[in-house]
Assembly symmetry: C2
Homo-oligomer: 411 residues x 2
């Protein structure tokens, strides 16, 4: 093209970076998602992702549902639909949640594109730049990512075997922190695998009422309980100030991106406004398919199968850790979900050790990725036990243990 | 429950509104989406929505694709996948765009959940509170909604038969406005139906280079051209500073929520970061289905059918307007797309007249909804001609014309 010299200079001078908003300074790619790329090599045993076992995906049920929906309601399934989501599915979910004594109506529920969108919309609705979000340390990396984009500040309390140490929240507040929102993963915490005890849930609610905090209860794994009894959801203890989220990603399939948010009706109206601007609505087609599968009563049977498979995989991982890992290591004992949290002896830095693990063809996520202010976890890692089969889990944990022992001996 | 009096008071005192972020003060429900609810009554002839004709949805092709994908790659289709999107589909799109001489690679493309998500992510990446976005008046209501959530200010230039009056942009800037981003709907503008001439595209690029602006080229309807020649996309004229978006919503189906963003690679990397935090990725299943349908060469044939159907519907609407509407009315003559823009005689206020239209069982969108600063359009409306069949279009335009004449006579 016959561009003038001046125009050519204007083109060369152009820099996207000059136009970016202030919030982009806090946005970065998730370490996990970058690692996942590394671990796509087929020879790698990956404990890194949070992937459900693909061999349990209900492919036949999806096929039946697709055919049924397209044959009987194809025009509706392919058309635009409402922002709040497909009403029969929201009705199904409100009925289902009564199992947990969460008595809500379809108007309390909005469908989203995976829980991650729920986190994003909560950020959009509540977080001003530099607002304080209170979370456990470690916490879910996707929440860190979602709320960094709204320039949140995180203040954190530690975790122990009973989950988030909620008793430390008043201490933080008395010390001058002003949290607005408490982010809680009550069941089979990602990444820690721990469950928040009933006593602590009650205490958290007391604290939230005393200091006027709102609570986000993120519960993607609650249905995948291997043993013990369900614990009362926080939403039930403090329905006035709690937003509850769950998902089909771990029970049906993540590739349809389908989750839901539960909240008081006036807040759902605000959520709908936020979602309209964000993407108009969640896919009609995938909502109708999920509803078709659910209405056949498939979900309950399927979750039972998943529980027994994942329980076995967790057991194999725990046994392998006991057998193969060096003295001075420790790990959590999750009663459900997809993850456990392991700590190596102090002298190991799991970010540095990652290269050695990859050399042994095993992958995990270094603990530091789950610390919002990168203030800990140097000798910890998240291990996923849902994706690999039992034999592979044993082999992978053996290899990691062997490499850890070598690294320690080499020091 | 045995709550103390003090606790009961804390619960009663709680107000979600106290916790909302500042940006929510600018968020409201789209007038269009609220109207759409009104117009769901089956007896209403609706020109209000932007709905494709459901009788043309390729239901059989969807069924074949669902079966094929689930049978051959079911485990992949239901699993998590990459944020940027399914590579074979991005390859297909980069090949397809070469038709428009947009020479891009799959790495220049990111899949999104409908163009609305593209608008949201552009807002997230570029708009600081009170940053100025330059658009036409009227402009797409979804862009207003997406960017109000980032507290954008809009400054606007008028439209005429050749599209956005770009020559007014330098005047606005010289008068002290400092736009950062120019939002352009080059082909068959929503809501106006007009197409930006090549001359104006070139002039816009000159202006953008001179004043260092970035351009968002939103092109959902470009393929639905009824007559005349394709006009060079702005992306081709100023690839260094243009973001291009298009969608499957108007060619395949909106219910799968599938669109794409095209931009220079470093910006796509930023987009990927923003999308990771927003919803991890676009559904694997719908991407693989769309790809399967596209790879069979179906899209090109299907678009031809849509063009001939929508051309007929536009013609019927134009003829009906000429025949039935009162003197002093005018309308645009779109060369493609889904909408035309009609102006009634000055004395009609289309927001007030809406009730009379609904009483006559016809719906449209009042023009004011498309004015970011609500500074005009009182006697205008957007009319959709893709959804209703030709007979219904004629009947609806007749009824509107009749009601308009009555309203004018009644004054």
């Amino acid at each position: 093209m016959g561009l003038s010299k001046a125009t050519k200079e204007l083109i060369l001078k152009f820099q996207w970076e000059d136009f970016l908003s202030e919030r982009t300074s806090r946005m970065k790619s998730s370490v996990i998602r970058e690692l996942l790329k590394l671990t796509e090599r087929p020879e790698i045993i990956s404990f890194a992702g949070g992937l459900p076992a693909p061999d349990f995906f209900p492919i036949r049920e999806f096929q039946e549902a697709c055919n049924h929906i397209l044959q009987t309601e194809g025009q509706m399934a392919l058309q635009y639909s409402s922002t709040e989501g497909y009403r029969p599915l929201r009705q199904f979910l409100s009925d289902k949640m009564s199992k947990y004594s969460i008595n809500v109506e379809p108007e309390n529920i909005m469908m989203v594109n995976g829980s991650q969108q729920g986190l994003d919309l909560v950020g959009k609705l509540f977080i001003n730049p530099f607002d304080c979000v209170l979370s456990s340390r470690p916490t879910y990396v996707g929440a860190i990512q979602a709320w960094n984009a709204y320039q949140a500040n995180f203040c954190t309390v530690p975790l122990d075997a009973d989950g988030m140490c909620v008793e430390e929240i008043p201490l933080l507040i008395e010390a001058g922190h002003k949290p607005k929102l408490v982010y809680v993963l009550p069941n089979f915490h990602n990444p820690a695998g721990t469950t928040l005890s009933l006593e602590r849930r009650k205490r958290l609610v007391e604290i939230a009422r005393q200091y006027d905090l709102i609570i986000l209860e993120d519960d993607p794994y609650g249905e995948l309980r291997f043993e013990g009894e369900d614990i009362t959801p926080i939403f039930r203890l403090a329905p006035e100030r709690t937003i509850y989220m769950s998902t089909f990603s771990k029970t049906l399939a993540p590739g349809i991106r389908l989750a839901w948010v539960v909240a008081p009706k006036p807040l759902i109206q605000r959520m709908i406004q936020a979602k309209q601007g964000a993407d108009l609505h969640t896919g009609t087609f995938v909502q109708m398919i999920a509803n078709d599968i659910c209405q056949r009563g498939f979900l309950r049977r399927h979750v039972k199968d998943l529980i027994s498979a994942y329980r076995e995989r967790r057991n194999v991982m725990l046994d392998a850790l006991t057998e193969h890992w060096p003295e001075g290591s420790s790990w959590t004992n999750p009663q459900g979900g997809l993850f456990l949290w392991a700590e190596t002896p102090e002298e190991i830095n799991t970010s540095d050790f990652f290269k050695k693990a990859i050399a042994a063809n095993v992958a995990y996520v270094p603990g530091i990725a789950f610390y919002p202010n990168e203030e800990g976890g140097h000798n910890s890692m998240r291990l996923n036990f849902s994706y690999a089969n039992p034999e592979t889990i044993n082999e992978g944990i053996y290899r990691l243990g062997h490499a850890l022992k070598e690294a320690i001996a080499g020091k």
